[in-house]
């Protein structure tokens, strides 16, 4: 397995996703002799995982069972250890398309954070692209670098531990796309410009607050970026339900005695329909995505 290539069977050293139930998943590094505790009991790596097919059921020591899934950037996003606020798949999907990422793209990213977006970028630009990701927090930079190795994507990525606003991305004239998720993106717009290819490219800045967007748009316009476009995408998950609707009883149609004696409390029958219900609460805002095009310079 690797995060950029599917395999059929689990091998030692793989990272797999253990599916425990709806929206409950955990990543596990497979090691010969290793053991992982779940609420259904222990999973013994050597016998339960290694050599098994991805997508298999694994019976745990307590008799319960779980599924073992092939990792994907999307499953990683819902199961990774949070070291920061992370980007979720809805925004990631939009960013990937609007930055026009594809195999071979060279991308600059800052900050790396917990690496949620980084994995999705790597998946899309493999096997011939490269990601330059900058993270100012040393522990986080080290941790994510280790994860890239474990996920077998380290050959596609360079992690730099520096302040992008002061020191930039550490590359010049190479990037097809730049992504900014930092508190003051306007301070990094110049560095983004430097990192990008002469003939142009796409930039995206993610900011939760509109004031950040306003300052970033100003900086982008000043620096000569065009086609500025700020947008938001919100995902709504629908629950599928069978619900009963009561049928009203309007009483007997006619007859001279109708209404003479008080009718007994009528027994209402009901019909069942298949429908969806929205979540009570959904993520209504993560951040604004501002896209821009760097023209040829």
């Amino acid at each position: 397995m690797s995060f950029v290539e599917y395999s059929e069977r689990i091998r030692e050293g793989d990272v797999v996703i253990i599916y425990l139930g709806h929206e409950s998943m955990m990543p596990v590094k497979v090691q010969a002799g290793g053991k992982t505790q779940t609420r259904y009991g222990a999973i013994r790596h050597s016998t339960d995982l290694i050599g098994q097919s991805f997508g298999s059921k694994v019976t745990c020591s307590k008799g319960g069972w779980v599924l073992v899934l092939h990792p994907t950037p999307e499953l990683w996003t819902v199961s990774l250890p949070h070291r920061t606020q992370i980007l979720y798949t809805t925004d990631i999907a939009t960013i990937t398309m609007m930055l026009e990422l594809k195999p071979g793209s060279v991308v600059c990213e800052s900050g790396t954070g917990s690496g949620s977006l980084s994995h999705a970028i790597l998946r899309t630009i493999a096997p011939t692209g490269h990601l330059h990701t900058v993270e100012f927090h040393q522990q986080r930079a080290e941790k994510v670098e280790q994860e890239f190795q474990e996920h077998r994507v380290d050959h596609l990525v360079t992690v730099r531990n520096q302040d992008v606003c002061r020191e930039g991305f550490g590359v010049a004239g190479v990037a097809d796309a730049v992504f900014l998720d930092i508190p003051s993106p306007w301070e990094a717009v110049g560095h983004a410009h430097t990192a990008m290819k002469r003939h142009g490219g796409r930039l995206c800045s993610f900011s939760p607050c509109i004031e950040q967007v306003q300052r970033t748009c100003e900086a982008l316009t000043e620096r000569g970026f065009h086609d500025l476009s700020t947008l938001e995408v919100a995902l709504r998950v629908h629950g599928v339900r069978s619900v009963g609707l009561s049928l009203p009883d309007f009483g007997p149609d006619a007859g001279p005695d109708a209404g003479e004696t008080p009718a007994p409390a009528p027994v209402h029958t009901s019909v069942a329909i298949k429908t969806t219900i929205p979540p009570r609460e959904m993520t209504g805002h993560t951040g604004y995505l501002t896209f821009a095009t760097k023209p040829r310079t």
Binding site: P208, R236, D253, G259, A263, P279, M282, H285
Partner: protein
């Protein structure tokens, strides 16, 4: 400039009194209750007494102090006050080692024992956090919110209103109001053109919230008829509005199991002939029913066993006494039952009188019943050129409803809608939509009746109420 000077207002109307229906508010959480002295009430996992709120003005903020007593809170509302702290640009310097808070749990307990209020405790926590200033705004807010929930206990006592009660129900017990969101209720009241002086039919299984909302908008003028399913009209929520007594005179109720009979003209609202007794006064029904041309059925029963004021006659023996007591009890019970039945009959008669003209001005439906059947049954009571509004938590039944109305004709301006509601945080340099939002507020089908509705043809009159579109007329794409 013609400046009209305001008249000085009477404070009495704004003072919390024993027996008042009030709403407690803490943050975004509401609870409706009646003010009762010396009564422990539970709010947000906290026991408290409302005694000390009595005599204070509405909208006063109280602190819950020891013993669950309320103490008026002189400072301004605390909401947002701690939010103005300085925010770090990012979290880069934060190491999560669990050592950032200098106050220990014991310290906090001591502060509490010293009588420090929630807001002060939070400020202490912030001041003693080595990392708070370095946290990003998002993290700071999360922190404050968490701590607020834990330490703050400012409670505001509010006068109930449709706005507050609708938010309360949707926030705390959405299932009790069929997940009707407050802004959707707002649409219903406006699209239904609910206003003073009209005659409005309401069919709801929303605990009385919708009924109360309609009554509030009618302001005690006009009539509201609650069309109810089952044995009894359910409307506990109406009580929470704390309407003045005369509002209730405008409220009528009619069990839908009599709808067909009423439409067929066979509903007998005259005093019932009971096997055991027929103590009824036929004149009363007419009195209540008012100026209606209703067919009152086969006339009332004869006189009865006398009124409740029947004079007592004394006898001497104990056995006789006992027998008499027994008889009396029995008779009282019978009497009570009769009175109740008579009341019920009168209610039915008065509601029937309102419905019989088939000239209601509005119809509001919001229930767990199949809206299509309910609407088709009740729309017959509407005058022409009147709005109707049907709420459903699900869209599918309203699609059916829409289709059937289109097929049978007699309505125009049909519109099937839903809406989304978005709240914003507006703070210097930290303005953005609130991160969590409601996933949905339900669906509405609205329309206007036409004269055709009355001469309702079962089929074959498809879309007869749409004028024939001339060729040059471009119809909008959103209609079938």
């Amino acid at each position: 400039m013609a400046a009209a000077e305001g008249t000085e207002e009477d404070d009495a109307a704004y003072i919390i009194k024993e027996g008042d229906c009030v709403v407690l508010k803490r943050g975004d959480i509401f609870k409706a209750l009646k003010v009762q002295l010396n009564k422990k009430v539970m709010f947000e996992k906290q026991w408290l007494f409302l005694d000390k709120a009595v005599g204070q003005l509405y909208s006063t903020a109280f602190e819950v102090v020891s013993g669950g007593h309320l103490e008026p809170h002189k400072a301004k509302t605390t909401e947002g006050s701690a939010d103005t702290a300085e925010a770090g640009a990012d979290n880069r310097n934060i190491v999560d080692d669990g050592k950032s808070q200098k106050l220990t749990r014991d310290d906090i307990e001591t502060l509490k024992e010293q009588g420090l209020k929630g807001q002060d405790i939070i400020q202490q926590l912030i001041d003693n956090s080595s990392t708070f200033r370095d946290k990003t705004e998002f993290s700071q807010q999360k922190y404050i919110k968490k701590k607020k929930k834990k330490y703050e206990s400012t409670i505001t006592v509010l006068k109930p209103s449709c706005r507050i009660l609708a938010m309360m129900y949707h926030g705390r017990e959405p299932a009790k109001v069929c997940h009707l969101r407050h802004d959707t209720l707002a649409q219903m009241l406006t699209l239904g053109n609910i206003h003073a002086g009209s005659k409005v039919l309401v069919f709801e299984t929303c605990s009385g919230l919708v009924l109360g909302a309609v009554m509030e908008r009618m302001g005690g003028y006009g009539s509201v008829v609650q069309m109810y399913p089952g044995g009894e009209a359910v409307r506990a929520g109406v009580e929470s509005f704390g309407f003045p007594p005369h509002f209730h005179d405008t409220l009528h109720e009619f069990p839908i199991c009599h709808v067909n009979a009423l439409l067929a003209g066979t509903l007998n609202t005259a005093p019932a002939k009971e096997p055991e007794a027929d103590a009824n006064d036929p004149s009363k029904a007419g009195e209540e029913a008012g100026q209606t041309d209703e067919d009152m059925g086969g006339g009332g029963g004869g006189g009865g066993e006398g009124g409740p004021e029947e004079p007592k006659m004394e006898t001497s023996t104990a056995a006789q006494d006992k027998q008499r007591e027994w008889d009396k009890l029995k008779e009282n019970r019978l009497q009570e039952k009769k009175v109740k039945m008579e009341e019920k009959r009168k209610k039915l008669a008065s509601a029937a009188a309102l419905l019989e003209g088939k000239n209601a001005d509005g119809l509001i439906i919001a229930s767990r019943f199949h809206p299509s059947l309910v609407l088709l049954g009740l729309i017959k009571f509407l005058a022409p050129s009147r709005p109707f509004v049907v709420y459903s938590q699900y869209i599918e039944p309203l699609i059916e409803c829409y289709t059937k109305l289109k097929d049978q004709g007699g309505t125009v301006n049909l519109q099937l809608t839903d809406s989304w509601l978005r709240h914003y945080q507006v703070l210097p340099n930290r303005t953005h939509p609130v991160l969590q939002m409601s996933g949905g507020g339900g669906y509405l089908l609205t329309g206007t009746t036409t004269v055709n509705m009355r001469n309702f043809k079962a089929a074959g009159a498809q879309q007869a109420d749409e004028p024939p579109a001339p060729k040059k007329l471009k119809l909008s794409g959103s209609e079938g």
